[in-house]
Symmetry: D2
Subunit: 344 residues, 4 copies
């Protein structure tokens, strides 16, 4: 049994990590920290865990995190960059579910996150935790930066097209829609049900942190400049992200697009290219770690459309983190993650 | 008091017409027809009308529609083209809320609707019922084709840019999202709450009837070829449409875009260009006839984004129809339509 | 035009008051106060009011509330009891939408609200603002205590039975369900959409402030001891209350129960006793001031069931307050309140 | 590996059975029948099963159900009573998720279901599939009648009190609320999202089939006459039932009620008596087989209140059926059922 620590376990990624790890079979949760909730059983804050996980929150000081094999940071941005290096120095493996280690260009990171980075050397050494791209590096990594939720849906949907000579890499569009759990468990007026229920809107149209993160990966894969317009929206539901991706064609593709996608992801357990004409629903991945997608070329025109869905708390956060943990600790990649989506 | 008839009043556009007309002040509903519900008081089918409208459904045969000043067709596609000409011939004014008279090119219409048109001459004479474009023609029209719901949100959001030399008219994208009432009051499995609740998806990505309708109008205004990718989505809510519109810039616009939009709609009572940086919510127009929009140029780049919201049953259907009726019958354009949106 | 002030207009009852008053026709909103939002146009906080109400929030000090004919307190509990007396002393009429003046027994009030009352003399003089019971007193009142939301649905549903010899007044049960807007526009974790969406629960089962308020009125009408078990629930929707009321029969009623209810409310504009066998839906009163109800005697047994629905923000708050205002200022009771419910 | 058949697998109980059985580990699904969908892969109808279950629907005739160890009937009422006896005669074990074998009194059954029973002898031999009451009988049963969804939440919440001398068995009240998936996957207007979304109502107040089913069990346990008023409600969500149960006290209970409940269910894996003062949420059991409940005595008065929650498709249908299957086939009772609820 590997020993696992969770720092900042009171949010939605925290409870989702616990849901997945409690039934993983190869790990035990040694410590979950929260200054505010220290002493509280996790099942009091999250009754869905009653009977499944008999552990309480502890202060970071009491938790012997250095004795863990791997520690998840499910903290707000700016925490892991201060606290992770100490654990890393003691040989503990770390997965940060926040954004501290996602962006390699420190000036870009500072611009979007409004902070000076506290451990820039670890930014360089961190591996971006998207197994479909960096599986081998993740296996050997000591520090993994778990991707953002919108980022995951958008990046996976665009990857097979990156670098193709017949698309316009400078005019990509990602129209992404997320359930409200993506905003986390923070008391904020706009996230009240009375504010976000039975309504729909775009937000952060002028700029969202997931845009530079996505562009970084797409650029690396395409090996050329990428222009991406990214517009997030808030859906009156709890879980799920659907990203509609628009890719202009500049020439006739020399192959079948459906086939291109199927081949690209043929060996990926957690990416499902659906049959031609399918319309992926977010509920088809509710609670599980899959990204399902479908690719379209409406009326045979010069625009490709990809619809890509994930559960923002699973493949978009805790599930992908467990997938990374499996790789880092030598478990089968799908251990603990083969849950079937809850539908209806 | 003008006498109004409604053919096919059992659907959502029917009940919404009744909600608006019952408090209009200048009209009386002389007849509401429904073969299936003949004899039933409308307030039995729609309890929200109890105490507000004391009338029952009648068969089309019993209803003396020819005695009406104006008749709304709130019927499925393919009905008005057969039944309206007889009324028109008797001098009755008609507003068709379905698609029978929206598309001027009969071959395009037949291709998308799968029918041969029964009254092609009236297609030619029909005025497209978008007051912001065709106010004067509507005033004098005998037959008005009320625009589609997605179409209204998309077209109004793009109009100020049509014909501008500095946008790429061939790569327009409309990512539109609608509440489930847009599908009408028909017993269909995909529209069950257990199917469409707490989930989100795109639909009809390969082609939707609102695409050619939108293109027809945009082309006429732009006076050049328009390429539009239109992708509708289903939102787990009842009412509202948000369309995110993407317009590539080909050169630096010679004017302030915000100002362009504000000037374009300065005299329009039912279009609200919101202040820079606003994010229109569908609930801000719930139950009223406004289209609210905001225009963005993310990071000063080469893509404009417009977010446009309407209530699909009001500005997207019954409200716009009443606006057209007001024009056709000589009422103030906003009579009966100055309701404030219900929020929260 | 009567001059109206609103103290604490940033919450949901505030915006709902503005929605109704902006189209009332007989009043003008002279001032809306909010310390936190002073200087902000109300339409910035509530975009649904854009174009309908051109006014901004002011500090209580700047607002010349004493020059108003009537002032609404849409403040948290404990504010009006301190601030209203000064206005009342200057002859201003006051309607308190909070609970400061609802409960006559000061010790009961203190027990439930945890405060010592600051203006006990005004508690005595205040009229309980339920027009169906106290219409004449409200007409002459200077201070009206607007009833609670659950209270309104429960009380109106039980009134016709109070004092009847053939019911058990000691075992009344009110199982009430409210949308989340009932909790107000406060940033609280349990009211996040991610917490209250797609879920259902009871709350405050061991005791809720609306229980003593309801009992006070029922006791007064029944002129005997009343025992009421009141259990509120949170519904994953924004607006609406449904109360299912259970009344044990102790003897065969000597009259038709349906008829009893219809007669009781025959002259009430805002209470709708629906036909036998109807099941009132909250959406049938969405946005309007009606209480609709139906009465049942399942299988002819010894338990009556009443299902009573209101919009918690209208008849349960702002709408009933405007109804009271109409009475106090001599307007027709339904002025500004004849809106038709939004359905679907 | 035991061979399992599912008759009528296209509904929500069907897909939920598949979700649970596909990860059970001790069974294989040999056949799923559907006349309408024969030839269709189940993953086409239910994309959440893509990659998890590679099987298609077959006609009942093609399916060799007699070769199965156990067959689930997930069919509408009135099917199993005709088709199950043939399988039973060949030694196949059967679990009926419909109501054909739930009610022992054939005249009561006929009155509520409007049918004459086709296999009354099997009604007598059927065991009612509530493991908390009839575990041993289920182990030896050939035919099990799986309880109704509301029935399960209500019965489990009342069981510990049945037969107690200090409650009034004749005035029990169950105010039960269900998500819309309880109505099944049938195309019906009232279950459209546009009809049931953002609204709340009671239904079938004058009589619902789950009332006599509940009374039958409670009477048997209490060994005295039971009077139950049962009122179901429709919640604007997909999954979940909360039942608020009201039990009048006739004398001071001689024991601690909380303790009584905890002791009663001490050995039950799928019933969770929550700590005093808890308010069970339906999401705390979403997707899992638990019934969580809390018991209250508001203000120390003479009415007990129990709030009991289940997932209507799991403990209220497919999950309880798998629990029964485990007992009938000799698996550990919780095999395949230890999933953690999805929350948020």
């Amino acid at each position: 049994m590997k020993k696992i620590g969770i720092v900042g376990g009171t949010g939605y990624t925290g409870v989702e990590l616990m849901r997945l790890l409690a039934r993983h079979g190869g790990v035990e949760i040694a410590a979950i920290t929260s200054r505010g909730e220290a002493g509280t059983p996790v099942s009091e804050l999250y009754p869905n865990l009653r009977g499944a996980l008999d552990i309480g929150f502890t202060t970071p000081d009491e938790a012997d995190l250095a004795a863990c094999d791997l520690v998840f940071f499910a903290t707000p941005n700016g925490i892991a960059m201060n606290q992770a290096p100490n654990l890393l120095a003691q040989g503990v493996k770390v997965i940060d579910l926040a954004a501290d280690y996602r962006i390699k260009d420190l000036s870009v990171w500072s611009q979007w996150y409004g902070l000076t980075h506290a451990s820039p050397d670890w930014v360089e050494r961190a591996v971006y935790g998207m197994p479909e791209l960096y599986r081998d590096e993740i296996r050997g990594a000591q520090l993994v930066a778990n991707p953002g939720c919108h980022v995951t849906a958008v990046t996976l949907g665009l990857l097979p097209l990156m670098g193709q000579a017949w698309i316009d890499h400078t005019r990509l569009i990602a129209d992404s829609k997320s359930g409200t759990s993506g905003a986390g468990r923070k008391a904020e007026v706009p996230m009240l049900m009375a504010e976000s229920g039975e309504s729909f809107k775009a937000y952060a149209v002028n700029g969202h942190r997931h845009q530079p993160e996505t562009v970084q990966t797409l650029t690396a894969v395409a090996t050329r400049a990428v222009g991406l317009t990214f517009v997030p929206h808030l859906v009156p539901m709890v879980r799920g992200i659907e990203a509609s991706l628009y890719v202009p064609l500049t020439a006739e593709p020399p192959m079948d697009i459906q086939r291109l996608f199927e081949d690209y992801y043929a060996d990926e357990r957690f990416v499902d290219v659906m049959p031609q004409g399918s319309h992926p629903e977010t509920r088809s991945v509710r609670g599980n770690n899959l990204c399902r997608m479908a690719v379209f070329r409406p009326q045979g025109g010069d625009m490709l459309v990809i619809s890509s869905v994930i559960d923002n708390l699973v493949k978009g956060a805790a599930g992908q983190a467990v997938q990374n943990m499996n790789l880092m600790l030598g478990f089968p990649e799908n251990q603990g993650l083969d849950l079937i989506a809850l539908s209806p």
